[in-house]
């Protein structure tokens, strides 16, 4: 561990002390004050945590062990493998880290446990983005696609039907989310980019890329179609068959013309494509842009006038979990929302679900840079201590309200998903 991250930790401890009085009523505090690991009973508290590496931080599991005595065993897999494992082997994990749009596929399998909202201490403080589809200031945000509030509640403890109104049975407790847009290489493009249409602009022939997940790739294409005025969708995340045909036709033309260099399927690939100059414009994730930039290569997470495509992930619990393990799972989720982890996520360029607790764990400068769109007073550091931005820098896209407020649609699984995947295969074969 580097020196700076130790420093980081002691800062967060102090912040934690300040915060305990206010919001965080957790046993976690005692461990943090004495600095001794919090040791519980005889049985080691172990939770198997299945997810992608993006959200699995080494520091998070260490801090969690220190505060709660729960040992997190990460099971790291690709996004696709994670969802498949949920269907095929619900016995191989306890806590699942997944996205809301996957729930439409995962809940019908009956392998997801309905969490009790009353046992989640900070549930009422979760940002209204998830519960009501609006910003903390009351502004409504885009609801196209599988927006979290559409799949947050179940009708009953063993129900497989999503409830339109709030119930106490929660599918997935939100932890992290973001607003995605196109990443660009300003040094190679050399002109301002302001619209999604640029993704399919022949100027960038052979230098564009999208995500290789059909249901998300087609939404990026839909953003282009809509931006260029060819069609306005009622819901880009839930297209009709003719809309799918139209969007695929436009994508097929682009593919035949050689617009796409490659479709990327994981975080690392998106970084490599951009950093090596294989692509100059592509859909991307915020930390991937940060990574490219930290290598000394110019890269911008470009805000576009048509808005962002958003995603959100969080924790589910496997139906196979019961007894004390279930209590630990609640304890873990409660710890996660209590602020330290939220601050950790915010520092990577993501957003945390409970803003108040995360704020208590960040410096005013960090909060200003990441959340309020202010210029950084000091250098901005990643959780591991590496410098991400020099003092004076401002975040691409501005504040939380600016970015989340401009969300146009959410990652989705469509009602016509089966048709869409068939069309996608046709598109690949074209």
């Amino acid at each position: 561990m580097t020196k700076s991250s130790k420093l980081d930790r002691s800062i967060s401890r102090r912040a934690m002390l300040k915060g305990t009085a206010g919001a965080v009523g957790l046993a976690a505090g005692s461990g943090a004050i004495t600095g001794f690991p919090y040791i519980h009973g005889a049985e080691p508290k172990v939770l198997r945590y299945l997810g992608t590496a993006v959200n699995e931080g080494d520091e998070i599991s260490k801090k969690c062990l220190e505060d709660t005595g729960i040992k997190i065993e990460y099971i790291t897999a690709t996004t696709d493998d994670v969802t498949k494992r949920v269907i095929t082997q619900p016995n191989s994990f306890d806590v699942l880290d997944t996205e809301y749009f996957s729930l439409r596929k995962l809940v019908p399998s009956g392998n997801i446990f309905a969490l009790d909202a009353k046992k989640i201490k900070e549930f009422d403080n979760i940002t209204p983005v998830f519960t009501k589809g609006q910003l903390p200031n009351g502004k409504k945000i885009g609801d196209q696609g599988t927006a979290p509030w559409k799949v947050l509640y179940l009708e009953g403890a063993n129900s497989k039907t999503f409830s339109k109104t709030p119930t106490e049975f929660v599918t997935l407790i939100p932890t992290v989310y973001n607003a995605d847009t196109l990443g660009i290489r300003p040094d190679l493009i050399k002109r301002p980019i302001s619209s999604w249409t640029e993704l399919l602009n022949p100027e960038f022939k052979g230098k564009a890329s999208i995500l290789n997940i059909p249901s998300i790739g087609i939404m990026d294409a839909a953003m282009v179609v809509e931006a260029s005025g060819q069609h306005t969708y009622a819901d880009k995340g839930n297209m009709t068959k003719p809309e799918i045909d139209l969007t695929m036709k436009i994508m097929t033309e682009a593919k035949k013309a050689g617009q796409f260099r490659a479709f990327w399927k994981d975080f690392n690939e998106s970084v490599n494509l951009m950093a090596s100059g294989e692509t100059v414009i592509q859909s991307m994730w915020s930390p991937a842009v940060t990574k490219v930039r930290s290598m000394g290569i110019a890269c911008t997470f470009q805000p576009l006038k048509e808005g962002y495509r958003s995603w959100a992930s969080g924790f589910c619990v496997s139906k196979a979990v019961s007894g004390p393990k279930l209590d630990w799972a609640y304890e873990f989720v409660n710890w996660y929302l209590s602020g330290w982890a939220g601050a950790y996520l915010n520092r990577q360029g993501y957003y945390s679900a409970v803003l108040s607790t995360a704020k208590a764990n960040m410096t005013a400068d960090e909060w200003g840079y990441w959340m309020e769109g202010k210029a950084a007073v000091n250098d901005i550091k990643a959780p591991d201590g590496t410098i991400l931005e020099k003092a004076g820098a401002k975040r691409d896209g501005g504040s939380y309200d600016d970015r989340m407020g401009a969300v146009a649609c959410w990652n989705a699984v469509m009602d016509e998903n089966d048709y869409m995947v068939r069309k996608w295969n046709e598109f690949i074969a074209a």
Binding site: T52, A53, V54, I75, T76, D81, Q89, S92, F267, N268
Partner: protein, 292 residues
């Protein structure tokens, strides 16, 4: 070797060298990029030169314990290697006589090669899920799962390595001179003695080859393991998992180290063998003559 090499030797040696160069193509990029500077990425341009990534391999890269995964994959690979050799040689012997189900076994082996690994993986996962459900229903309260590295994982790997082992045995036993075994039997050797002292020494180098093949296939297996490994990953799965976040040149350093250690081991083994052979020659034994 005293006789002069024919011209074709040099041509073919050049071809072979070109092939080896081709094999190592991506490895060169890995070797060079593992010396990236602390801020460097997985692609060119180089961002300074350093040894930090080698340090990172040993200190662990955080989320996944590469060392532990390395050990798990090594263990699994070695078990798969031994089983592949034993089962393939045994079945290979069986195919030299005709037996009921020979054709079936042959086509099953072929089908196991054809079936896309992810589907086989899924099938095994389904099977174990049914097994788990059955065990839980029969009253095992604290049962979690029968899945694991050496149950479903091992089985999945064997469905991948055994077809190779079996078919290579076909190549080995093709036109194998049966008279040697007859002679041994005529001299009163038991079937086991015939195998142990006559057949095995002849096929041994090829059998070592099958072992090597089996190990390498298991070591690098990805898709078949993906749904069958339970809650602990193999090394390739962990590495693939890492690509879902910021991936750093430490994985290249791991590649460079693997190659370096392999080269070192093979080179030392070669030196030992050559020294031993030279000594044998000097002592006038004829045992090593056939080797060179």
């Amino acid at each position: 070797m005293s006789e002069r090499r024919p011209r074709s030797f040099y041509l073919l040696a050049a071809f072979f060298s070109a092939y080896v160069l081709f094999l190592y193509g991506p490895m060169f990029a890995i070797y060079i990029l593992s010396f990236q500077g602390p801020d460097g990425g997985l692609t060119f341009p180089m961002n300074g030169v350093s040894l930090v990534w080698f340090g990172k391999v040993f200190s662990g890269s955080g989320i996944v314990d590469i060392g532990a995964a390395f050990k798990r994959s090594l263990q699994l690979g070695l078990v798969v290697m031994v089983l592949t050799v034993v089962l393939s040689v045994s079945a290979g012997l069986a195919f030299r006589r005709s037996f009921r189900g020979a054709t079936l076994l042959f086509y099953v082996a072929i089908a196991s090669l054809i079936m896309p690994s992810i589907i086989t993986s899924l099938g095994i996962a389904l099977e174990f899920r049914l097994l788990d459900d059955f065990i839980i229903k029969s009253g095992a309260a604290n049962w979690t799962t029968a899945m694991g590295l050496f149950t479903s994982g091992l089985g999945a790997h064997l469905t991948w390595t055994l077809p190779f082992g079996l078919l290579i045995m076909f190549a080995i036993f093709n036109r194998f001179d049966g008279r040697l075994e007859e002679a041994a039997r005529d001299l009163g050797a038991t079937p086991w003695q015939t195998f142990r002292h006559v057949v095995l020494p002849i096929i041994l180098p090829s059998v070592v080859g099958i072992g090597l093949f089996g190990f390498t296939l298991s070591w690098d297996e990805l898709a078949r393991s993906s749904q069958t490994i339970g809650s602990v990953n193999t090394l390739p799965l962990d590495l693939q998992g890492l690509t879902t976040t910021v991936t750093k040149p430490d994985i290249y350093a791991l590649g460079t180290l693997t190659s370096a250690v392999s080269f070192l081991v093979i080179f030392s083994a070669l030196v030992v063998i050559l020294v031993l052979q030279a000594r044998q020659r000097r002592h006038g034994s004829d045992a090593g003559k056939g080797m060179v």
